[in-house]
Symmetry: C3
Subunit: 205 residues, 3 copies
């Protein structure tokens, strides 16, 4: 479980950095940049908690915030915004992928705990993992990037599907969680490296 908490923390820090950079690029002021950073990191989890009807965890557990703030400070210290496309750094991709998988796992587990059906578990996993980024893009006037390209949101859906399957087959435990997580992480990294994209049905061939 310590490993899981570490993955979650990495996700919070990385997502806040990606929000921070996007906010800076859009010419927001200091408040707007911070709001965007926090929203990107925490938005998915808050929507998830509101959907299942519990108080958003982050309003009661302050620890979560430390990782977000650590991410923001790190980005400012390294002056990432003065660099070109820091989101393309290998280390950033790795950390972002770890966050994607950790958030997807949390969302799927909360969905199972709440007695949701397969659809509910998949949606909750998706929202937890990419909801913050989608809110950020919508707020800044862009079509959410996760809807247009890349093999990213699909990972969260696959994770949720596998977790739901494990649960149904009565083999959900630390080991299956670990296995699903690592497989999903590898899949995401391969997809990124090979530049996989889902097809676009609307275009004429």
């Amino acid at each position: 479980m310590t490993l899981f908490a570490a993955a979650d923390a990495i996700g919070l820090a990385t997502f806040s950095i990606s929000g921070l950079l996007m906010g800076m690029r859009k010419g927001l002021d200091l408040l707007g940049i911070l709001i965007t950073a926090f929203l990107t990191a925490l938005g998915g989890g808050v929507i998830r908690d509101v959907i299942v009807g519990r108080t958003p965890l982050v309003f009661e557990q302050s620890a979560t915030l430390l990782y977000v703030i650590a991410g923001i400070l790190l980005a400012l210290l390294l002056r990432l915004h003065a660099k070109e496309r820091p989101e393309r750094y290998a280390i950033f991709i790795l950390m972002d992928s770890i966050g994607l998988v950790a958030f997807a796992l949390t969302g799927a587990l909360v969905g199972i705990e709440s007695g949701f059906n397969l659809f509910g578990v998949m949606l909750l996993s998706f929202v937890t993992a990419v909801g913050g980024g989608m809110l950020r893009d919508m707020m800044l006037g862009d079509i959410p990037i996760v809807l247009t390209s890349d093999f990213y949101g699909t990972i969260a859906l696959l994770v949720a599907f596998l977790i739901y399957l494990c649960e149904r087959m009565g083999c959900l435990g630390s080991w299956t969680l670990f296995l699903v997580g690592v497989s999903a992480l590898i899949l995401r990294l391969v997809a990124y490296r090979r530049n996989w994209h889902l097809p676009k049905l609307g275009e004429k061939p």
Copy 2:
């Protein structure tokens, strides 16, 4: 009540088709298109359930999903996206109008059940009927179409007003529901055919 369930199913299928077509037009990838289709069909009901504080029905009742999936499959089978403006087909308009009225009725009934005042009942009816489409438009970077033209969202408000009135006068039952629903459906179809629009106050005459 079987009639009501049928109207609801028609609405789910039609709304998912309209989401699917919009997603294709915007150049989304397969995941984005499916998310848009599901969001258009289910978004309004999920917001409604979150507002009244209950678990979104669709996460527990899988039947709902079948109609959404049926809509998506139908659209793909008929290759609607290769046709010009399938949203203008008479059959599509009819089915969409049935969905509008069915969703508005459900929203109004949930509002009354939750003990809301007239405003709450009208808002819940409006959100249930057009909330999915509004989320879709906002997500894809457009001003929600329901805010700018046509005589569409107004139908949901009228339905809610009448249902609230019936309830106050103690005559809410299958027959009044049926009567309100059919009247609203006819009004919507007349409004569409005659191209009714609400006035725009902001423009100079």
Copy 3:
């Protein structure tokens, strides 16, 4: 407490006017304009109530609506939409600032009541005060103005911080509420008059 209710009513009326004017400028129809006015005035409070898991107050207490409707009627009677930038009138700025502070205070108090940590209290205060305006801007396809310029949302965060501090120090009462409110109001008016802005980190110097 009567003073507080008055400040709240002023906020509801002023926020609805600002929504109304924005809706008119964007070429919405009558329904769209009214939805925008109601959303701007009530959206923040509804999000707040959904987050803390209670039924949105406005669906049970009809009094709130009277102030929103009064604002709309006033704007139409004075034909504000035919004037140039009525949002710059001194009286409008004053009333809007009173609303900002009143909403921020309410949000902070609800957060404290719900046992939130400092972050939760600040976020709830921020959402209550500026959430309606942010939703309005997002719906109409703009980047929320509160994220890009002015010294506005920061006021809500400061109010929440001070209220949380008071509560921790055991001195939260009518007098401290009044003192925080008046100080925040003065700060907002000074910031407006002197044209204060937060820095933008992303721009090259």
